[in-house]
Assembly symmetry: C2
Homo-oligomer: 615 residues x 2
């Protein structure tokens, strides 16, 4: 099934839900015009739709081949990658001085969504390269940057991000990979890493590994971790490839999905000569790695959006085409003898209607569309906050934006990937029996989407991060300030006084107050009963996203209504109001219950040890 990059929708979300328009007014984005923006995203959309999307299903079917430490990517992937890198897409947001285009992170976020909609297994690799380039630019020594950064920015060489070891998954502090000072400023690395995305492949001639390891004599735990750059091939004279380094992949994993993304078990230095270069200071590796992780977390959130968008497109197209049953009853019963899609009526095939006309199918498609757009808005808003944290003219503005980005990042990651799976599952359901057949393609989205809830910090850990680190920022002032903004949207919906919004203002108002109440409870609980705060963390994150996502959809709807339908720009005021209303009345309506789980549900978790007694 074809993918059509939703460029207009993306532009609209960027500008009117995520704060891109305001950031431009505030001068953050220099002289970047609307036309520039549309041109970049239009071009990215074309590449994604025309070059990458056709690789997705074949890549899933053929997977990657592992033999003798080498990984062969699916047919066509190397050419596509090289064309993609040659067009400059790897360096969209990278510094101009290192060969990047220096565009806003928000623009890159929009591109990342499209690469991953087209082929998530493809989009995943560059996310790690970009994050590696970013950490190297921020923390690397000058000569290391000169040698490696231009090629990581251009994408000529790809990067990896390596924390996990068998005994150290979520528990990073437990890792054991060792580094010894070699005397020449470099280090000798020994150890192994598992679940390494794009750890080995043939897309590029060299692969640059960003690896956490413990220098001999360093403390236990995360305070003894340092970050190393470990190239597959050492840099040769003149910037070419030098000697093969002592590292290799010794297996790849057989996974539920993402079959075209090689997940490798890496071995370092078992022949005694793996050369690594320290990035930043000794024992300060986690600080540097967090830079990579935060960027990667947002990118993973965008993968959730991406897969949701593609699943929605596919389901909507199928629902317009597939004919089953007669029209649903619109008036009082009796006018028609039978129920839709039920075996009680008579339905000559000729009278069958497209299933998109059935109420329950429309409910599923609306759910898919509303969740996708809400997650997109949250991710883009996080990206704009990151831009503002670098580009705002005043230090206070940068600090506030940095805190806003910190607050939103776990929500962007966890909510978007949770709904990625939910939407992909609904996509199967819309297809009925055909959805369970692999050739249809809906099942691939469902398989691919599932990992995003796990990698770059499981969604449970995102929720714990939100509750225990982000909500307490500035004694709660950061989150309270955000909630105050949500209230302004509620007021604006009220003030619009447009009956098409239905109960949007009431439901969003209730959701926002539920979030406020749960937030105050969490702040108090963190001091008095931190375990109780942990018990409700996942519900709190969903509550946060319900209020924030609903509010952003309302922002979009209000902006579209202001512009009028004739304004173009993907405004579609009736459609945006309908989606905002659906989200408020059918999804955000859960907010009060979520708040109750946070504030009153903890004892049921904490006292329940006995309930786990059964096998």
């Amino acid at each position: 099934m074809a993918y059509r990059a939703p460029v207009e929708d993306i532009l609209f979300a960027l500008k009117h839900a995520a704060g891109f328009a305001k950031a431009r007014v505030d001068g953050l984005y220099g002289d970047l015009t609307d036309d520039d923006l549309a041109a970049v995203l239009g071009e990215a959309g074309r590449f994604a739709s025309e070059v990458l999307a056709p690789l997705n299903a074949p890549g899933d079917r053929s997977g990657t081949l592992f033999r003798d430490g080498e990984v062969t990517m699916p047919p066509g992937w190397k050419d596509a990658y090289r064309a993609w890198a040659a067009a400059g897409w790897n360096g969209v947001a990278a510094p101009v001085e290192w060969g990047g285009q220096g565009l806003p992170h928000a623009v890159n976020a929009a591109c990342i969504e499209m690469w991953n909609s087209a082929a998530m297994a493809f989009g995943l690799g560059p996310v790690l390269t970009m994050a590696g380039a970013n950490v190297l630019a921020s923390f690397g020594a000058e000569d290391l940057k000169r040698t490696y950064l231009p090629k990581l920015v251009s994408g000529e060489w790809m990067g990896t991000m390596e924390l996990t070891e068998p005994q150290a998954g979520s528990d990073v502090g437990a890792l054991r990979t060792r580094a010894e000072r070699a005397g020449d400023g470099s280090y000798r690395i020994t150890g192994g890493k598992i679940f390494i995305t794009y750890g080995e492949h043939d897309l590029t001639d060299n692969i640059i590994h960003f690896v956490l390891a413990r220098i001999a004599g360093a403390p236990d735990g995360i305070k003894g971790l340092s970050l190393f750059l470990i190239p597959k091939f050492l840099a040769g004279p003149g910037g070419g490839l030098g000697a093969r380094n002592d590292l290799r992949a010794n297996r790849i994993e057989h996974k539920l999905g993402l079959h075209a993304s090689p997940t490798c078990h890496m071995v370092y230095g078992d022949r005694g000569g793996c050369v690594g270069y320290l990035i930043g200071e000794e024992n300060r590796g986690m600080a540097a790695m967090f830079t990579m992780m935060n960027e990667a977390r947002l990118a993973v959130g965008l993968q959730g959006v991406a897969i949701a968008e593609r699943a929605t497109q596919q389901a909507a197209a199928y629902a317009r085409e597939r004919r089953q049953g007669r029209p649903d009853p619109a008036g009082p019963p009796g006018a028609r003898a039978s129920r839709p899609s039920s075996p009680a009526g008579e339905t000559p095939a000729l009278q069958q209607v497209p299933i998109i006309t059935h109420v329950d199918v429309r409910r599923m498609l609306l759910t898919m569309r509303a969740l996708t757009r809400a997650a997109r808005a949250i991710c883009f808003a996080t990206a704009v906050a990151l831009d503002r944290s670098r580009l705002a003219p005043d230090a206070a503005g940068r600090k506030a934006a940095q805190e806003r980005a910190a607050l939103l990042t776990p929500v962007a990651k966890a909510f978007s990937t949770d709904i990625g799976t939910e939407v992909a599952s609904l996509g199967i359901q819309v297809h009925g029996g055909a959805g369970y057949i692999e050739e249809t393609g809906a099942a691939q989205h469902y398989r691919d989407a599932r990992i995003a809830q796990i990698y770059e910090g499981t969604n449970g850990i995102q929720a714990i991060d939100l509750v225990t680190r982000k909500v307490p920022l500035n004694g709660g002032a950061t989150v309270r300030g955000y909630i105050a903004e949500l209230r302004r949207t509620v007021d604006a919906v009220k003030a619009a006084n447009d009956p098409a919004f239905g109960a949007t203002a009431e439901r969003l108002g209730a959701a926002t107050e539920a979030l406020a109440e749960a937030t105050e409870w969490v702040l108090a609980a963190l001091a008095a009963r931190p375990d109780a705060a942990l018990a409700g963390a996942t519900a709190y994150l969903r509550l946060f996203a319900s209020a924030a996502g609903g509010s952003m959809l309302a922002d979009e709807a209000l902006a579209a209504a202001r512009q009028g339908s004739a304004a173009g720009d993907g405004a579609d005021a009736p459609g945006r109001i309908a989606v905002a209303r659906f989200f408020a009345e059918n999804l955000a309506v859960q907010a009060k219950a979520l708040a109750r789980i946070v504030t009153e549900g903890a004892d049921a978790v904490l006292l329940a040890e006995a309930g786990l007694g059964a096998p």
Copy 2:
């Protein structure tokens, strides 16, 4: 990962949540003793755990092989099936006069759960054989029964159930397979069927197809459908195999899961000689097929329970074994420097704790356990109602039970299979990255579970069936009577006055009143605005299951508390109270919001056509 049949838990749910104990007191089950029951289920559990469960992962990996119209099952499956049938398991609930054991349907339901936990792809086939035997026993002519029923009851021959054609999925009335009278009382069948489970295989020497087709000259739609028995091999003299009938599988599907269950595309009569025998009257095929479908729907619900149980066992075992991070903070912060599973603390591997001790993991496991038990109780209660509908001494009792079973069947099917997928997904999440690796096995449950939301009537159709046919039974008296029973459980929890129940009574009371309110709204809407009733159907079904499931878990907890922990019998009062409380406070707490979606959410769906405008 090993499966241990939860025989004690199943027995407890049967007796104390599903009404089996009361049915026995009422004399429905003759002289069936507790010991008989425990012996049968214990034996079934042993067979499931020891013989079938080890076939599950290898069967998924090897799948079924299709060549020249023949399907080869995975290694070991034929022997296992034959041993299973030889032990009499296919005929547990079949009539004694045809070679069955004549045990209650509820006992068979418990067995079906265990077969499907052990290997869902295995358990699926016999469900169709049993349903076919049942429809033949109920509607077939005497000579047809004599020829085919003993072998379908013993399982020597397996059966299929065939409705779907390419243009007729949910829309059964649109099917085109034709039957012509042959003049000798039999018919000649021509046409094709798709998505036919176990349509071809080598487990048995013969396969009996139960096929809906339209007799020449019959009306369009479902009122022109007749049910036919079409044997792969005609019966030969002396009950052996006669001539090969003109039917074949011409492909099998490549599916997301259930790889060891062959899903076939069947062709009938393309050489002009496919012999079929009418079951029941001409043009009354749907009535007979509904018998099969209702039985199969409950069995599919049990598959949801089954996969949820197995996923829960596997996740709990992993969570007890896998060590990551330090203990979660139980008191005020400061006592420990770091958060669980976070990269901020120091965690030498030796100090790592089993992840089951982390609050968020316990929340996931409790959710899995509570949803699984609630779904099991609903399915078993449906089975007991079916028994009562056949066995109650008075006609009024049989009619009331028949209506109760009709009311609960769509809930049992849809809720159990929805939570089957949800629980399997949580099972992956508990495993972290390992959950995404196929060898772990958690992913197989997730893939296998997904079909159950689709086949035997999609869950959307179950919800529409509940709202448009079952809620209106007896002008609403059936559902109101059921709600009155739920209220009695709420009162009993209140009366128990046990602080361990926490807010169980309040939450279940609120859920029950939300269900009552939504029910009255639905009854009114069906008359005035049936499309609005359809829009909320899925939320209504979940609301129904939340109130019913929560109530049944409370029934179990109350029964366990009455018995005391010393009573054995799987009572575990503290554990059962904890699970009931968790369900009420963390899951059923959504009831009010679900009711609101039903009663106030419809316009957002019905007016939203514009919202689907984007691609």
